[in-house]
Symmetry: C2
Subunit: 239 residues, 2 copies
């Protein structure tokens, strides 16, 4: 397994600052993961209280993003990090942007859930159709954050490839909702909302892939965005 | 008008490096703007050749993002910029992420356009419904890039507020498409595609707002993300 070993610095203070930043990112990641889990549960179980809780806590994620961003800028200004330290700071600046946007998508799940509850309840609930996609995406996010915490390139590459499953499931879901719509056009508003939920889940998958790509950049110092995964696999895996 | 004046450095080489980065971002911005214009034209005029051209050129945007990212990391490592220079570099790292994602949305417009052409053509075209939203979003993007080029905070704050118009128009469009769907459920696939196009446009508006927020951060050194625009206006405008 390929891991990043951060340099040890003569300045213990600098070590501590980098470690603090990394810990804050992991805290933010944990919070985002919890928000996605709660947003999805709120949606699947039509739990409005939980949905309200998700909306409330989004604020914490936003504040953490601003705080970590500020910490990174401070470290860049004061410590002038080089090599792997510099890559860590640049990576963190990127990772927290994706985490914040995953938080926004989680909040949307809660909001859409409440909108759905307000719509006529005698009609069939299509919410359950989202369960499989939701589980796929949740595990992708969780594993991406683990790969970041362990700075594990092999895991990151493997996780990123699971985005294909997410896209396939998303496509299946869209077709299924289209079929429901033709059968019962009066459900149009409800079905549109369900497709937005599916879209939010699919985007959480995309952001998880971004996090995996940053892990590779961090450890390997190589930018893999926009490069085919097959090429990267053959270069990096099983070495 | 509030503008950022970059420090002049004893090292002419450093000045040049920062200026080069800034110019590359403007080049990337111009390319992204062109892609959005072409993607929208391809869509509104069902022009498959233009749609194919948009898909081809996305590669250039991706390569520019990787290149500018690398330039920024180099400058951070070699020059250890401080104060406004450091903010410029951090801002660029963020702006290019949004530009790249706008490029992806433009590419989607082209792809959806071709998908729509492949669908039965005897049915009514709903594409024209997207024109108004498309024009709103295009001008927001253009003005955001101008605000970045001129580092103009007042303009950036005013542009960001136009996102409300985009969201309102997006809501109108969704309701309109819903009505079409109820009238003619056989058009479900086509109408879903049109809503994805609307969604892509709406996201371009969101990314333009992000760029505006970075302009304020760059000039004012203050992070306005997640803060209400009213509060910011009262603090910054008309001073």
């Amino acid at each position: 397994m390929d891991k990043l070993h951060l340099d040890q610095h003569i300045s213990h203070q600098f070590n501590k600052e980098l470690e603090d930043i990394r810990n804050k990112v992991l805290t933010m990641g944990g919070l985002v993961e919890q928000q996605v889990t709660n947003g999805l549960t709120a949606l699947l179980e039509a739990d409005n209280d939980l949905a309200a809780k998700v909306a409330e806590r989004d604020y914490e994620i936003n504040m953490l993003e601003v705080e970590i961003d500020e910490d990174c800028t401070q470290v860049l200004a004061k410590r002038q990090p080089a090599a792997s330290d510099l890559r860590l700071v640049v990576t963190v600046i990127k990772v927290i942007t994706d985490l914040e946007r995953i938080g926004d998508e989680a909040e949307k799940l809660g909001r859409f859930s409440r909108d759905l509850t307000q719509m006529s309840e005698e009609s069939p609930s299509y919410r359950k159709e989202l369960r499989h996609l939701g589980e796929l995406v949740k595990s992708m996010l969780q594993d991406s954050l683990d790969a970041f915490a362990r700075m594990d390139v092999d895991a990151a590459l493997a996780i990123a490839q699971r985005d294909e499953d997410v896209n396939r499931e998303y496509g299946n879901l869209e077709r299924l909702l289209g079929t429901h719509l033709v059968e019962d056009p009066r459900q149009v508003s409800k079905l549109f909302k369900i497709t937005w939920c599916a879209r939010a889940l699919e985007r959480i998958g995309d952001h998880s892939v971004n996090i995996c790509e940053y892990v590779v950049y961090l450890v390997k110092g190589r930018d893999i965005r926009h490069t085919s995964f097959d090429k990267i696999r053959s270069e990096f895996l099983n070495k």
